[in-house]
């Protein structure tokens, strides 16, 4: 077995172990430790693999592809999962359900993500997608007595089934043309025209529909706010980070490997979706009172920004934006956004009673450290300099300017300013004088939370001020 399979296998092994453990004795702490241990061993292995010379097994029919980029993405994914895991124990103690199965589903969805990010074949991609989506249904509807969670679970189940159906239909059409389900053969047999171009474009649009649903980009975004609000907090964090990361990597791989930008209409669709997502996401967030809905809308907008990366290919107007620079942009943006978002979610987990914006009133004067962390994270989401979010935006603007995508850039500027409104509102609410002095007295600020916040700040602000080590690392990865 290829050494690259180890990290996912370890996580899978841990999932099985928890399953066996459930047959004998339920123990919350054991499941917590098993899952954590597996994630960190996998993380460590992935880190070791990162530095290994890649074994080029690029024969066309393999299900998976392993190279520096996929290792990096898997590493990022495991890191995000690890950061979410760190909060899991305290959070699960507050709910009244059986706790151990949550870890099981948590690990299964992680495996799904790991499979997806290195898949090179529609079969493995689909397997990973379904493994992840079905575990998510369980994770979302985990609190059986919560009406909203049940509703969100059903919503996700039905919608993601439809999205999968679209992807399958698209894959089938592509199979008709290319005679293979492997991603790397999407480009090869174009000489023998079996289907007219519009059929291929239809296939691409089908696949896009499915993937855009998972990314909650604009025409398919209606579910995301309800889901974030209804689902348990940790699940929302997983949905916002893990699932979107994996799906976006697939989208990127499909578009680049199949060279889908050769069709003008696909470029147009991506541009329209990107611009619409930026605007609609930010507009919907504008007057939002519920914090999780606000984050949901902001994530729509952020993936709208990120879609610009897909427009960056093949017209080398200014040559410092090579293919490798586009990949660097993609990876840097993903790192920045995911770290920031995980930070936001872990702050929310430390404020268990905070649901709406008004609940944050005066947080700054009572729990300054938590409030400052949240403030800096909001500034990072808004893209203010000296945060990681700004560096990501800078990468994006550099890449987009070099390809002279003025229209999308204009949209980026205007929608960023709209977005600034609600990020500032969060900050402003925390600064207001609180009316209730005892409101935040129940927030625990133990050593674990404190160290986690410091870690998040280190990632978001440290790399924001001194991004060169991160950018060099990413440069190495993309080669």
């Amino acid at each position: 077995m290829n050494v690259y399979y180890y990290p996912a296998s370890i996580v899978m092994f841990a999932a099985l172990l928890i399953l066996i453990q459930l047959c004998f004795k339920r123990s919350h702490i054991t499941s917590y430790l098993i899952s954590g241990l597996s994630i960190f061993i996998a993380l460590f292995m992935q880190f070791v693999l990162q530095n290994q010379p890649t074994s080029q097994t690029n024969s066309s029919n393999v299900l998976f592809i392993f190279n520096a980029q996929t290792s990096f993405v898997a590493f990022l994914l495991l890191m995000v999962v690890g950061l979410i895991w760190a909060q899991l124990y305290n959070w699960l103690k507050t709910i009244n359900e059986q706790k151990e199965e949550y870890y099981l589903l948590f690990l299964l969805s992680t495996i799904g993500g790991l499979i997806m990010v290195s898949s090179n074949h529609f079969a493995s991609f689909f397997l990973g997608l379904e493994l992840m989506s079905l575990s998510f249904v369980g994770l979302i509807a985990y609190c059986g007595h919560d009406q909203k969670a049940q509703e969100a679970g059903i919503k996700y189940l039905i919608l993601s089934a439809i999205a999968s159906a679209f992807i399958l239909m698209g894959a089938a059409l592509l199979y008709l043309q290319f005679g293979s389900l492997s991603f790397s053969e999407l480009l090869q047999n174009t000489s023998s025209e079996i289907l007219p171009p519009w059929a291929i474009i239809t296939a691409i649009i089908f696949i896009f529909t499915g993937l855009f649903f998972k990314l909650s980009l604009v025409p398919c975004h209606l579910w995301v706010a309800d889901l974030f609000e209804g689902a348990p907090l940790v699940t929302a964090a997983m949905l916002a980070t893990l699932s979107k990361l994996a799906v976006f990597i697939i989208l990127w791989r499909l578009v680049t490997l199949g060279n889908w930008q050769q069709y003008q209409i696909i470029i147009d669709i991506i541009s329209i979706v990107a611009v619409a997502s930026m605007f609609i996401g930010n507009f919907l967030g504008l007057l939002q009172k519920n914090l999780l809905r606000l984050i949901a809308y902001s994530s729509i907008a952020h993936f709208g920004y990120l879609l610009i990366v897909l427009l960056l290919i093949n017209n080398n107007a200014i040559s410092f934006s090579s293919q490798s620079f586009n990949e660097q942009t993609l990876f840097f943006y993903l790192v920045a956004y995911l770290f920031t978002l995980v930070g936001v979610f872990s702050i929310f987990m430390q404020l268990p009673k905070t649901k709406t914006l008004d609940d944050l009133t005066g947080l700054f004067w009572h729990k300054p450290f938590i409030a400052i962390t949240l403030m800096l994270l909001m500034l990072s989401l808004a893209g203010i300099p000296l945060t990681l979010g700004f560096m990501a935006k800078f990468y994006l603007v550099m890449a987009a300017v070099s390809q002279q995508l003025w229209l999308v850039l204009t949209a980026l500027v205007i929608s960023s300013i709209i977005g600034l409104f609600y990020y500032l509102r969060v900050i402003m609410t925390m600064l207001k004088t609180p009316e209730d002095e005892l409101k935040f007295s129940d927030i625990k600020s133990d050593g674990r939370n404190l160290s986690l916040n410091i870690l998040i700040l280190f990632l978001v602000i440290g790399f924001g001020i001194f991004p060169s080590s991160l950018s060099q690392f990413i440069q190495q990865v993309t080669g």
Partner: protein
């Protein structure tokens, strides 16, 4: 290293001030004063050798030049450098920082530690803006100085503070994003044309970009600076921000934050886009003139003292814009002088308004009046700075406005005549301010026990008076400090010569 030390002193002083609050609520302001005074230390070697010896400036533009690699991928360096122009503005920043501290001394009683943290960090940001020569670093400082300012307005401001802080931040951020894109476009086009990827001002300036896009890039930069200046269509954040900000923040805002806009135009727009800025000039002159007249007329109808002074700022900064785009050495020197003189006279007015509000708890012109009876010293200062603001000969403002008008008359006689009417309008609103506040019927006859200026206030104000008088009577050293020929502003006719 000295410039980096200069930047880090207020940053560290701010953190220290914040931390010291838990021991004693009075400690933060003392630490703030000490750290601001320590900021002068790195400048002492320069102060010794330079200001009155023009020969030091003759050789190269940069007096101090320090560079460290920061983000090698984009060839971005942490490059700070100091020339005469930035030297003047840094001196202004440090002096006005002390003035702001003096006005905050008794006004700020709540959350003092955090207040001085934000105040010092704003000053550090402004210093960074004046020193950064790498365009990326400049942009970072440009944006980052807004965040502590936002907190200053939003936490310690007056009744409508959240709205004002919001508006301030959004306006300037919008300008900033525009600048970010222009910045990237500038670097991209420069790379395309020369093959050098660099954000460094010294490299970019050697081969100014050409072509259609250059105009748009220049426009992007200019708009970002106009927002901060503020020029007419983008000025509406200023009255709100000034009115709601605490006095110390108003002082910083008027004295140095607005100057970053003018500094940006002189430092970046004119040399980096020589062709495009000539194309832009007529529009900018027009905007400047409209700003002068509009600001003066708006100032005239205000009843809120702070708003009146804020609109007079709009009017005065119109002169700066006029001077920058007149393409004439007199006008340019005048613009620099206007930035200094306006920084001092307007912030002195804000300090005075702050003192009045501290004593009478109102800034409404209709409720004030007859202050001279109770507060003769304060009123005398009010008279002085009001007259300075209308451009009385012998004070810095007159020199500045006169030079700007003389310089721009050569190319734009009609616009200059219109702009000159701003002087008359300035006389109207300044005299109105003086009359309604200090003379006339007293509205508070029974409150005779209100104290006049104390020693600290008196010292602050009198030193500002002397600076203005010095600027007005002996401006030559300041002109020598801004060696226009070294700033690669190639449009200046050679026969006029570098100094006046």
């Amino acid at each position: 290293m000295s410039l980096f030390i200069l930047l880090s002193i207020p940053l560290m002083g701010g953190v220290l001030a914040w931390y010291s609050e838990r021991f004693n609520a009075d400690l933060p302001k003392k630490i703030a004063v000490i750290s601001l005074l320590m900021c002068w230390l790195p400048l002492i070697p320069l102060l010794n050798s330079m200001p009155f010896d023009a020969s030091v400036l003759g050789t190269s533009q940069w007096l101090i030049n320090e560079s460290y690699s920061w983000i090698p991928l984009f060839n971005i360096s942490a490059h700070l450098a100091l020339d005469g122009l930035s030297f003047l503005l840094i001196i202004l920043t440090l002096i006005m920082g002390l003035v702001a501290l003096s006005s905050a001394w008794h006004e700020i009683t709540k959350r003092t530690g955090l207040f001085y943290l934000n105040l010092l960090w704003t000053l550090a940001g402004v210093l960074g803006v004046f020193l950064a020569i790498d365009l990326f670093l400049f942009f970072v400082f440009w944006e980052v100085m807004l965040v502590p300012m936002y907190f200053l307005i939003s936490i310690w401001g007056y009744e409508n503070r959240h709205y004002a802080a919001f508006k301030f931040f959004i306006f300037t951020q919008a300008g900033g994003l525009l600048m970010l894109i222009s910045l990237c476009a500038l670097v991209g086009i420069h790379y395309q044309q020369t093959g050098i990827l660099s954000f460094d001002y010294n490299i970019l300036i050697q081969n100014p970009i050409t072509g259609d896009l250059a105009f748009w890039v220049a426009l992007g930069f200019t708009i970002a600076f106009l927002v901060k200046l503020p020029a007419l269509p983008f000025h509406s954040w200023l009255p709100d921000a000034h009115t709601q900000a605490p006095t110390a923040a108003s002082v910083i805002l008027a004295a140095v934050l607005l100057k970053t806009g003018g500094y940006g135009i002189i430092r970046f727009v004119l040399p980096l886009f020589p062709e495009a800025s000539i194309q832009l000039a007529p529009f900018m002159m027009l905007i400047g003139v409209i700003g002068i007249i509009y600001g003066a007329m708006m100032a005239f109808v205000q009843t809120d003292l702070k708003r009146l002074v804020a609109y007079s700022s709009v009017s005065h900064m119109g002169f700066v814009l006029l001077g920058c785009f007149a393409f004439n050495i007199y006008a340019l020197q005048g613009a620099v002088m206007q930035m200094l003189a306006h920084g001092i006279s307007t912030s002195a007015l804000f300090v005075l308004v702050g003192m009045i509000q501290h004593r009478y708890h109102t800034r409404d012109l209709n409720e004030l009046g007859g202050l001279w009876i109770n507060l003769p010293k304060l009123s005398a200062f009010g008279l002085f700075f009001g007259i300075a603001s209308l451009g009385m000969p012998g004070l810095g403002n007159f020199v500045a406005e006169f030079l700007i008008l003389v310089g721009s008359f050569e190319q734009y006689p009609k616009l200059t005549i219109l702009a000159a009417s701003g002087l008359i309008l300035a006389a109207i609103y300044s005299l109105l301010l003086i009359y309604k506040t200090f003379f006339g019927q007293t509205k508070h006859p029974h409150e005779s026990k209100i104290a006049d200026t104390n020693t600290k206030e008196w010292c602050t104000l009198i030193s500002m008076c002397f600076i203005l008088i010095y600027l007005g009577l002996h401006p030559q050293p300041f002109f020598d400090l801004v060696p226009v020929t070294l700033m690669k502003l190639s449009f200046i006719p050679a026969d006029i010569g570098a100094s006046l």
